[in-house]
Symmetry: C2
Subunit: 120 residues, 2 copies
């Protein structure tokens, strides 16, 4: 299956998880197309100053893969600054947040994948 960037479903979230400003996302794979692997597969863009508030994942994990910009993240209480090519994995039972602390849009891939302990 081929999907061009221009064909992807667009989403807009205000104050996501009680964060600041807004987040736009292009869904590159619908959850229903993922054979049960995950619930969200998107490319997110946040303007300077925007954030996704601190929240927890249970029975699943999330990967943020930074494509452009500069992000301050909190990974289960530990703060870090990430740039292009870096990742954060919010592990099962952990919490995280992300904020655009740069002067340009922050662009990152976000994927929420289900845990399948029996397969480990």
């Amino acid at each position: 299956m081929i999907r061009r960037e221009s064909e992807m479903t667009q989403k807009h979230y205000e104050h996501m998880r009680d964060g600041k400003l807004s987040v736009d996302a292009r869904v590159f794979l619908e959850a229903s197309e993922s054979y049960g692997a995950g619930s969200f597969f998107g490319c997110a863009t946040m303007p300077p100053g925007a954030s996704i508030g601190y929240h927890r994942h249970d029975g699943e994990f999330e990967i943020y893969y930074i494509l452009r910009g500069r992000a301050k993240v909190v990974d289960n209480g530990q703060e870090a600054v990430l740039g292009p090519g870096d990742i954060m994995q919010c592990r099962d039972g952990d919490s995280h947040s992300i904020e655009n602390i740069g002067e340009l849009p922050l662009v990152f891939l976000a994927m929420v994948l289900r845990c399948h302990p029996a397969a480990e």
Copy 2:
């Protein structure tokens, strides 16, 4: 868990799946860290002219997310040219290949995820 680009495991493959030239990859998440979700999570770079040969996936699917460059892909027999922001999903039981037909390196994320029909 935070992982910087510079800390990722690097892999080098020659003639991958009987393809041309070589592929370099940085593993952004180890399979053992994925709670059974998948077997490969990497950012691949291929020089001009390089390819990964046509091959099949069973019981799993693969996503290619193009970051930079120009790729000719074959998705279960159908040819297409992809650029940054476009994706290909090789679905369960399908086959695919990818070739760098541009003059610059082709950079894309590749993720092989397991199918979990019971969870659909």
